[in-house]
């Protein structure tokens, strides 16, 4: 039918126009497909980042979102391929105005997506372009000369790390726990909230009563949840909580402590009295009260409570360090060339005080894990059924005589993770300590 349509118009110019339009539209279609695909990619990456930074969505859900976006991409690209074929065979519907208006809208959205993507990838592109051979020669020799001693020190530190077996063991445990937590959707035989009520309190290694389900490697708890699967689902939650709490506490504590130590005077006095008050509490009791005051017993509230109770330690630590560094010659030098207070503090002083902060942050990650698990163990955590190590022990303690494995394995996971963080922290302290470093 379309052939007839163009056959009616016998003019050469029109035929040429037709070819041009077809070619342009092909180009357009290709562009649209590309931009839409890139938009979807960009959205997916932003969503992933947002989800990982934000709280309550697990990794498996973000994969589900990714799959949905992929489906949309497939459908859209299918439509576009169909459209381009229709244009090639000059079908009438391929030339409707509303279709192109919609496509225009899509292009607009896609452009926005691309810009977003460029913003996301800009650092990566810059980084890659910096290492192109003809650009590299401009900065690399200078950089090498500048960073030479530092790189040597880092190499030496890595050598020391390799030499101490305890640190290596700690790093291996942490890395494997993190990897296992991320890969939980792929290797755990049971889902996060999956219960088979018929097989409650089964000992480790026993088959499920449902013949289609895999065996319970580490047994089941009182509600028929697979302990092995639950532990690795819970690892996601527990590691995320301990790392976020320590990150927030370190940032807040460092800033407050640094400002208080640097300026001294009334600010210092006030901050130190506040930290005194926090030190006169047992942290656990304060955290318990905060969780209850926030209204709802949940992991997020436990995290908030621990953030509130944990920062004074860092504030004190950093303040002491800053007080010692403040009087040193390099600070005087920086001030004499007119550096602002903020610059001196952030660029000169804090990097020189970072070592004890790193050590205590590493060790505190284990401590936060213990406290969070302890809180949810004595009933300040989420309701039963959520995968969290402390909660698993809390529920399991009522059945500890008939199903000790439901208590043993989660507690052992806590012990191992916390021990690993402590091993690494302890090792880092020995490695970074200038007194013990070279001997």
């Amino acid at each position: 039918m379309s052939e007839h349509y163009f056959d009616d118009v016998e003019s050469y110019e029109l035929k040429g126009m037709n070819h041009l339009i077809t070619w342009l539209l092909h180009l357009l279609a290709g562009l649209v497909i590309l931009t839409i695909a890139s938009t979807i990619l960009a959205f997916q990456i932003t969503a992933l980042i947002a989800i990982q930074i934000g709280f309550s969505i697990t990794l498996s859900e973000s994969f589900a979102i990714g799959a949905l976006q992929l489906l949309i991409a497939v459908i859209v690209s299918y439509i576009l391929i169909k459209l381009s074929i229709a244009i090639q065979s000059s079908e009438l519907w391929a030339f409707s105005t509303s279709l192109y208006l919609n496509l225009l809208l899509l292009i607009l959205l896609a452009t926005m997506g691309t810009i977003g993507m460029i913003f996301i990838f800009l650092p990566i592109i810059t980084l890659i372009s910096l290492f192109l051979p003809n650009i590299r020669e401009y900065w690399f020799p200078l950089f090498k000369e500048d960073m030479g001693p530092r790189i040597k020190e880092i190499r030496y530190s890595l050598y020391l790390v390799r030499k101490s077996p305890l640190v290596v063991a700690g790093v291996i445990i942490i890395v494997s726990f993190v990897v296992l937590a991320f890969l939980a959707p792929f290797f755990t035989p049971y889902g996060p909230e999956q219960r088979i009520w018929a097989d409650y309190n089964l000992p480790p290694g026993s088959p499920s009563t449902d013949p289609n389900m895999p065996i319970h490697i580490w047994g089941t708890d009182d509600s028929g949840g697979d302990v092995f699967s639950r532990i690795f689902w819970a690892a996601q939650v527990d590691l995320r909580i301990s790392v976020t709490v320590v990150a927030v506490a370190v940032t807040v504590g460092t800033l407050i402590g640094a400002i208080s130590g640097f300026y001294g005077g009334k600010i210092d006095e006030l901050v130190m009295r506040i930290t005194d008050v926090f030190f006169a509490f047992p942290g656990l009791v304060l955290a318990m009260a905060i969780v209850m005051a926030l209204g709802e017993r949940s992991l997020d509230n436990i995290a908030i409570a621990l953030m509130v109770t944990w920062w004074p330690g860092y504030a004190r630590l950093v303040r002491g360090q800053v007080l010692a560094e403040r009087e040193k010659l390099y600070v005087e030098a920086a001030r004499s060339i007119g550096a602002s207070d903020m610059r001196i503090l952030l660029v000169h002083i804090i990097p020189n005080t970072i070592q004890p902060i790193i050590v205590s942050a590493t060790m505190d990650t284990g401590g936060v894990l213990l406290t969070a698990a302890g809180l949810s163990c004595i009933g300040f955590g989420p309701p039963a059924g959520v995968d969290e190590w402390g909660l698993m022990i809390s529920i399991g303690q009522f059945y500890y005589s008939i199903a000790p494995w439901a208590v043993f394995f989660p507690g052992f996971a806590i012990l191992m993770t916390s021990l690993a963080f402590n091993l690494v922290g302890d090792g880092i302290r020995d490695i970074m300590d200038p007194k013990l470093r070279r001997r």
Partner: protein, 344 residues
């Protein structure tokens, strides 16, 4: 004269800290829940609820209530603990305080007795098998989830031994009240009461058996901290010049370690021991919950869960007082251990 001034100054400095603790806990506890809820059941008429609120001063705005609480506090009325059958908080504390302190004391005793020798051995035999073992042992103590450790101990030493028909350690409470139905607390410290007032060695042994697991469990963390501190300060001291001098004088290694090094290495350890008392209070909450120990920790956890305001405030105030006092004692002991330190 100088010492008295120092103590006085420290006490005056402690006042704002205690006040800050009171302010924070009171306003946090105010958010925890409605204290009137414990006086009310489903049959209470609306008018009675109003009068209950009025009687306990709960109809006032929060800051007035806080001031009311403070005035009552200074008159020796710490409020009534609604979750402990409405008894006065001070009375409940007097009842439960000895239980926790006895537990904490025994844990501390155990930690010191084991921790200091372990630290010394570990430092003197640095980088040997003994040292590695001690380091892992103490690191495990720092990273041990107390509640889990308690349950595991209970499973092995109480449940498994009992199943096998062997003599086992009791898993909960302070003494066996079926064996000793006539026992009445005098001071509340069972180990003391049983010998001095009851003249009953069997009760003493029973109380000791009940204490064994919770105290070990609670003391393990402190033990680990003391061992680590002892090891590192011992290593530090061993590098000093006066140790080299002592050795070059021809003194035996024993005298060098126990007379010259140990005395100096003890100073930082004493600080840690004093500060660890706070850690014991935190650990007590978890340990007591698992072992059904009728002490302050269980009481505090239940008070918070039941929005028992007076009990929360009373407990934190008490703990803050203990903290301040133990810090003061640490500083005083510091002075006697190290004569170079002046109070100022």
């Amino acid at each position: 004269m100088k010492l008295r001034d120092f103590i006085l100054r420290r006490m005056i400095l402690a006042i704002p800290v205690i006040f800050g603790v009171l302010v924070i806990t009171w306003f946090l506890a105010f958010q925890v829940g409605d204290p009137a809820a414990m006086y009310i059941n489903e049959n209470t008429p609306q008018s009675a609820i109003e009068s209950i609120r009025k009687a306990h001063g709960l109809d006032e705005p929060p800051h007035i209530q806080f001031i009311l609480y403070l005035t009552n506090l200074f008159q020796g009325n710490w409020g009534e603990s609604t979750s402990t059958s409405f008894r006065p908080v001070l009375e409940v504390i007097a009842l439960k305080f000895p239980a926790t302190i006895e537990l904490a004391m025994l844990a501390m005793f155990f930690a010191i007795i084991l921790g200091i020798p372990l630290g010394i051995i570990s430092a003197t035999k640095k980088d040997t098998v003994v040292d590695h073992f001690t380091r892992v042992f103490s690191l495990a103590g720092v990273s041990m989830p107390i509640f889990w450790f308690a349950l595991m101990l209970k499973y092995v030493f109480y449940y498994q031994l009992a199943i096998m028909g062997l003599p086992h350690l009791p898993g909960s409470f302070r003494y066996d009240d079926l064996m000793f139905p006539d026992f009445k607390y005098t001071t509340g410290f069972l180990l003391f009461d049983s010998i001095v007032f009851e003249h009953n060695p069997r009760l003493f042994l029973d109380a000791l058996a009940h204490l064994a697991m919770p105290a070990f469990c609670l003391g393990y963390l402190t033990l680990a901290i003391i061992t680590r501190m002892m090891r590192s300060s011992m290593l530090e001291v061993m590098r000093e010049d006066y140790i080299t001098l002592a050795r070059s004088k021809g003194l035996s290694e024993r005298v060098v370690i126990y007379k010259h090094a140990l005395r100096n290495a003890l100073i930082p350890t004493v600080t840690v021991i004093g500060l660890a008392f706070g850690g014991l209070m935190t650990g007590a909450v978890l340990t007591e919950t698992i072992f059904s120990w009728p002490g302050l920790g269980t009481w505090a956890a239940r008070a918070i869960l039941n929005s028992d305001l007076a009990a929360i405030n009373g407990f934190t105030l008490l703990v803050a007082l203990i903290f301040v006092t133990s810090n003061l004692i640490v500083d005083l002991v510091y002075g006697t251990l190290d004569p170079r330190i002046r109070y100022g």
